[in-house]
């Protein structure tokens, strides 16, 4: 298990290098990455604030819960904070499991929990000013399925 909370940019492919590789008990590897999207065409930067200490704790307990529920062979969570450029990866999760359903479900579970339970807050920076991103009811509702 690897949990990273970092301001440094990361490369999805590089982080996945070797993940779940060279073993006989892993049949499925799933990765999800969230990138900085610019819907308005005016986004200059995305700023991510977090709660040092609680962030690491909540990501770890979330990953631990996923490992227990789906018997994952491995799990990886990376989340950035600070200022991010358009198109850059904000975060990623990866799961390795015996079967594909477990790997997919665990990755979606991690994303749903991380979205509504890990202490990160996004703010969009445009030429017109800055604006906090509002939480979506649908993100909170997504937790109900687990």
């Amino acid at each position: 298990m690897r949990i990273c909370v970092q301001s440094e940019p990361f490369n999805i492919a590089k982080e996945l290098q070797g993940f779940g590789a060279g073993r006989g008990d892993i049949g499925a590897v799933v990765s999800f990455s969230g990138l900085v999207r610019d819907d308005s065409g005016h986004l200059q930067m995305l700023e991510v604030e977090h709660y040092p200490g609680m962030t690491e704790k909540s990501l770890s307990s979330c990953a631990q819960e996923a490992v227990t529920r789906w018997e994952l062979a491995d799990v990886l969570v990376i989340h950035r904070f600070g200022r991010l450029q358009v198109g850059a990866p904000i975060m990623m999760v990866a799961t390795a499991a015996r079967h594909r359903n477990a790997a997919f479900e665990a990755a979606e579970f991690l994303m749903d929990y991380l979205k509504s339970r890990a202490p990160f807050w996004k703010r969009e920076i445009t030429a017109q000013g800055t604006q906090w991103v509002a939480a979506k009811d649908s993100d909170e509702a997504a937790l109900a399925r687990w």
Partner: protein, 84 residues
């Protein structure tokens, strides 16, 4: 009186005008703490009055607004999270 470290994030931090502070309080719950703070200064009221738009963590664990603060050292107020 108990000593508490308060921390704020995102627009809660901006409205209150600081990221953290140490206080002495008799509040038994986060809700009572909000009432106490709001009585001290209107900036707290502006930031914390609508608890439906807030989340609270006690010692870095998400909690309810009526969770007992007994033994707590750090209480954080912030908006719903938007990570991922």
């Amino acid at each position: 009186m108990a000593k508490l470290e308060l921390v704020y994030f995102a627009w809660v931090r901006e409205r209150i005008g600081r990221a953290r502070e140490s206080i002495e309080t008799q509040a038994a719950t986060p809700l009572q703490l909000i009432e106490e703070l709001s009585a001290r200064d209107e900036r707290y009221g502006a930031a914390l009055s609508d608890v439906s738009a807030l989340r609270v963590a006690i010692d870095q664990e998400l909690a309810d607004f009526d969770t007992k603060l007994t033994g707590a050292r750090e209480v954080a107020f912030f908006p719903p999270m938007t990570g991922g």
